[in-house]
């Protein structure tokens, strides 16, 4: 894992802010940091799992699609996570082209293995696990907010 995969980190009670490299090393470093944070901040099992899913799918999506043509890690991704008794809120910011995952079409599950396409299930998993999703384009950056129940 490269040394600058996790470029900036702020921790407070119930709140984590980090900036990760927009590449596989940043994804992996961010996953470890998120899991440690959730473990020590009263996140419950299903909430932790769904927060983990949201992080993996949103960050991987940005890396694969928004930053695919750039030098690995050239564009950082901002992540803020807040834990309360009721919910876990994750906010992601990237400077890729506009992409609204909330408005993206719902994928229809295939009815046979012959008709199934392998990929493209990330947003389906995020939507199934989220209690709320919001998108905004702010100062030329995508801002995606995902809430999952802390239970």
């Amino acid at each position: 894992m490269s040394g600058d995969a996790l470029r900036q980190l702020e921790l407070a009670a119930g709140c984590l802010r980090m900036q990760i490299a927009g590449d596989i090393n940043g994804l992996e470093a961010g996953q470890h940091t998120l899991r440690e944070f959730l473990e020590t901040n009263a996140a419950l099992a299903r909430g932790k799992y769904q927060a983990d899913i949201a992080f993996e799918e949103i960050v991987a999506n940005v890396i694969r699609h928004a930053y695919a043509d750039f030098e690995p890690g050239a564009h950082p991704i901002g992540v803020e996570v807040t834990v309360t008794d009721a919910e876990i809120v994750l906010r992601f910011e990237d400077d890729g082209p506009p992409f609204d995952p909330v408005a993206a079409p719902e994928r229809v599950p295939p009815t046979s293995i012959e008709a199934a396409k392998g990929g493209g299930w990330g947003l389906v998993l995020v939507r199934r696990g989220a209690s709320r999703m919001e998108y905004a384009r702010v100062a030329d950056r995508n801002r995606v907010t995902i809430c999952v129940e802390n239970r």
Binding site: I113, E114, A116, G118
Partner: protein
């Protein structure tokens, strides 16, 4: 991410342990596919040691099942933990790949 193979004669049992996410799939995908698809035998995949299943893992399972189907063989999943089962249910994977609770049920489907 760990992968362990057992030859059952007409089938191969594959035990997976760890996280089936982007880094985890990157570690095992080539070996997973190479161990299953060329032989063209049925594959029983034990998910009991998998504690996280993201879309990259689902993609790996679907593409492998798809390749096996072309060779008239089946991929069957069993033993998923409750939260991993939620990921499987979330994409209705059981509509296209058999998902059962236990190894004995998986073997029963193949009449092993």
């Amino acid at each position: 991410m760990e992968l362990q193979l057992t030859d059952l004669g007409n089938a191969t049992k594959i035990v997976l342990r760890g996280r089936l996410d982007t880094p985890g799939v990157g570690q095992i995908e080539t070996r997973f596919i190479a161990s299953i698809v060329p032989a063209g035998k049925h594959a029983l995949v034990d998910l009991s040691g998998v504690d996280f299943l993201a879309s990259m893992g689902i993609r790996m399972l679907i593409t492998t099942a798809h390749s096996l189907r072309r060779k008239k063989a089946q991929l069957i999943l069993f033993g998923a933990q409750p939260l991993v089962q939620e990921s499987l249910d979330g994409v209705s994977l059981n509509q296209i790949i058999p998902v059962v609770a236990s190894e004995s049920e998986a073997k029963g489907l193949l009449k092993l």
